[in-house]
Every structure is written in C-alpha cells, then in structure tokens.
C-alpha cells in the first residue's frame, strides 16, 4: 500500500479522460491520473502509482531505480503486483 510503483502510460481511455492504461512490469492495468491534472502525463511517460492513482511524473531512470528497489523488497512487492493484477478500475 505504501509502495510507489512505476508505470509507463500507454493510452488514455477515450470516454474517461482521468483514466489511463499503464504498463507495470508487463502488467497492463487502468489507473486514475486525475491527481496530475496540473501537468498530465503523455503516452510513453512514466508515473509513480500509489493504490491505483498516479501521484507524480518520473523519468525513465527513476522508474528503473524504483523498479529495482521494489524487486529487491521481495514478497511485499509480489503481493502488491498480485493485488494490482486483480485490480479492475473502470
């Protein structure tokens, strides 16, 4: 829950502009990007995701570092990814 997970923005959902499809470690899920309204991310850009919401934009280097950090955490990240896979935000 406290983990910030990096995701690459793939596309915005056409009918719901505050929702975007992102790629997180190969898992594609929909997240809410409404909290970045002041400076919305574009497809191809990276965001840090907390409990289904993008809280900040990050660059690719930071995304790689954050991912490495998470993979090092082990079970907690595995649990979070599993939860994300089960997530069905719409």
């Amino acid at each position: 829950m406290c983990l910030g997970i990096p995701g690459e923005v793939i596309e915005f959902l056409p009918d719901q502009p505050d929702l975007a499809r992102v790629d997180v470690s190969g898992v594609r899920r929909v997240i809410n990007v409404g909290l970045l309204d002041d400076d919305p991310p574009k497809p191809g850009e990276w965001v840090l995701i907390h409990v289904g919401f993008a809280l900040s934009k990050i660059d690719e280097a930071e995304a790689a570092a954050a991912l490495q950090f998470l993979e090092g955490i082990g079970q907690a990240y595995a649990d979070e990814l599993e939860a994300l896979q089960a997530s069905q935000i719409e």
Binding site: C2, E62, E80, A86
Partner: protein
C-alpha cells in the same frame, strides 16, 4: 541497469561514508530519525548502519500507517464488517493487523465478508456490482494514500452511488513528528524526511522543525545512496550549525507538493480534533475525517461504531519502538512471542514496520555484535 547502478555503487557508498565520518565532531553522538518505514526497510536490507561511524545512530520513526492503527479502531472496523448485508474492503497490508478479537484475516476465515482490494476504486466497483450490499472501505494511510480515498469519494458522489462509504483512519505525519519532538524521552539531531508523503505535502510543512526546534530535515529517496546522501546533507548542516529543510529527492518530490492532491483532500476531508495512535496515545489534529458535506459516505455516521478503546497487549512495546526509544530487538517479545507469522504488535505486521525489517534481515544492535566478536 546502468540507471540503477548510479544509485547502488559500493564505491560511491564508501566515498559518502568517508565524507560523513569526516564531519563527525569527536566525542559527539548523533541521532537521526528516518520517519518513513520505506527508509527503514532500505536501511536494514542494505545494512547501511554498517557504513556509518559508531557516533551516528539511526532511529526509526512512526511512518508506517499500518503500525500506528490502534487496536480499538481494528475492533471498530470489525464491528462494521459484521453488520448484516455489509462488505468490508481493505488493503492487503491491513489484513493481518491484530485487534483484540483477532485480525481481518481471522474474521474472514470465520465467514465475515472482508475483501482485499488494491485501490479504493476497486472498492467502488464492488459497490456498483453489489447494489443490495453496503460496501465500506477501510481507509488507512498517511498523505500518500489520502488523496486516493478523497478522489474515490468524489467519484462515488458523481456517480450517485449510495451504498459506498469509508471508515476513515487517515493520519497526518506532521503532528506525529511534533509529538516525538515534544517527547522528553528522546533527543534527536535531525530527520530523514519521508519521500512519498512529501510528493503530496511537499517540503514546506517541515519548516517548523528547522525553525522552531533547530533540527535539520532532508527529504530523501529510497535507494541506499539516496539515504547516505541525505545523511551526508544532514551532517553538513549540523557541522555548519545550520537547520534547514532540504530536498534530496528532487527527482520525484516537488518543493510545493501536489496541489491537486492537497485540494482534493481538503475538499472531502477535515482534521479531527484528536486521534489515537498505537503506542503514541492521543495526538491533536493528527488524523482526518469526512467533511459534513460528504456525510453520506462516512461509515462512522452510517453505522453504530462502538468506539471502544483497547489497551495494547502488556508485553508489546510497539509504542517505544514507534517513538524510536527502543530498538526493535530490545522489545521483550521480539522474535520470540512476536514474529511476522504471529505478530503481537503492529510493527511486526507490515514489511515496513521496524520490527519486521529487523527480523527479516537479521540486523541486531551493532555494538553488541562488536562486543561478541571481541570476546
């Protein structure tokens, strides 16, 4: 990989450690608190204390939101969950936190409808799919998760969804830091500020620590070198007699935070007069509740909440650990009666809790290890 190496290089770590050691005044002891449980995790995973001179002690702070939920609130949530036609939804982290009658997992095993969700928005979906049930989201977390809860309430309101509510346990980090600064138990020299929380609140809220208490604060990232760099920045300030708020984690944390997130929080939630923290007791204005405008989404108003106060188990010393007065291994039940599999206290439940981090990485008190190796 080349990206990550920048944050992990052992050579850089040793170079930083040497610079840190060079800044220590002879005979002076330094106590630096890392507020965030994520930092605690990095420190123990990478053995960062082993890089530091003996004069510097890292003290673990209260920044694990699961750890600070008092037993009474878990019992209250359980009472909500056991109401007829009710579905309780919760982050996975919360599922093993013990109340006086067991945890969410225990209740679920006995047939109470408690479902794990990744996001409050998943909880909203469960509400849409179950119009004949009342769906309650167990909202917990510091400012990192608070905006998500607030956005979800706004979404429920926009959809006119009437069977969704939140049991709000969101806490705010600043009053907890102030309580620790005002506590006579502990003298601290500086703070490693939380990374993700600051993404939302920015760096300004820490200014009172530097101004009124004369302690430096450096907001830090989560990589091992981020933390060493932050310790170095704190030590430079201390050696120059300065106390300022600095941001080491500029690649993620904007100085002013996330204004959209703060606006949403403020729209839906307001400060409670006081809230109980496990181990720390009641702290003024340290948690959020639903504003009257959104009362129909407030589970505390929709349901009878017992509101009982339950004393922590006598053997458990989470309070001292959360305040940084005790190291986890100094607790009477650490690693014996209290383990991650059968936690007595919350600090052993969450992977970001100080006790779980110690337990999982086998870190013990450095001085004791030195003594053992000499004898």
């Amino acid at each position: 990989m080349r990206f990550v190496d920048e944050f992990r290089s052992a050579d850089k770590a040793h170079a930083l450690a040497a610079k840190i050691a060079g800044l220590c005044e002879p005979g002076r002891q330094y106590k630096l608190m890392e507020v965030c449980g994520g930092h605690t995790h990095t420190i123990y995973k990478h053995g960062l204390e082993d890089y530091l001179p003996e004069q510097i002690t890292l003290v673990h702070g209260p920044g694990c939101p699961v750890c600070v939920i008092p037993m009474g609130r878990v019992d209250d949530a359980m009472a909500l969950a056991s109401q007829p036609d009710t579905i309780m939804t919760s982050f996975g982290d919360m599922m093993r936190v013990p109340g006086s009658q067991g945890s969410f997992f225990d209740a679920k095993a006995q047939g109470t409808d408690i479902r794990m969700v990744y996001s409050p928005l998943d909880s909203l979906k469960i509400a849409r799919q179950n119009p004949d049930k009342r769906v309650v989201f167990m909202a917990i977390g510091f400012e990192t998760t608070t905006p998500s809860t607030a956005m979800t309430v706004l979404r429920a309101a926009a959809e006119g969804l009437d069977n969704f509510s939140i049991f709000c346990n969101h806490v705010t980090i600043i009053p907890a830091i102030k309580a620790i600064l005002d506590s006579p138990d502990l003298r601290l020299d500086g703070f490693i500020g939380p990374g993700h929380v600051s993404t939302v609140i920015g760096c300004r809220p820490y200014e009172f620590i530097a101004r009124d208490y004369g302690k430096p604060v450096v907001v830090a990232g989560f990589e091992p070198l981020d933390i060493l760099q932050s310790i170095y920045m704190l030590m430079v300030q201390l050696s120059e007699g300065r106390s300022e708020v600095e941001n080491q984690y500029t690649r993620v944390v904007p100085w002013d935070g996330n204004l959209a997130a703060l606006t949403v929080i403020n729209k839906v939630l307001e400060l409670r007069p006081y809230f109980e923290w496990r181990g720390l007791g009641f702290i003024s204005h340290s948690a959020m509740r639903v504003r009257p405008e959104y009362a129909k989404y407030d589970a505390e108003l929709l349901f009878e909440v017992p509101g009982v106060r339950v004393a922590d188990p006598k053997a458990c010393q989470c309070g001292e650990v959360l305040k940084g007065v005790l190291k986890p291994w100094e607790c009477k039940v650490f690693g014996t009666a209290c383990t991650p599999e059968t936690p007595i206290g919350t600090c052993m439940v969450s992977p970001e809790g100080a006790c779980a981090a110690y337990y999982n990485f086998g870190r013990m008190n450095r001085r004791r290890v030195v003594e053992v190796s000499i004898s």
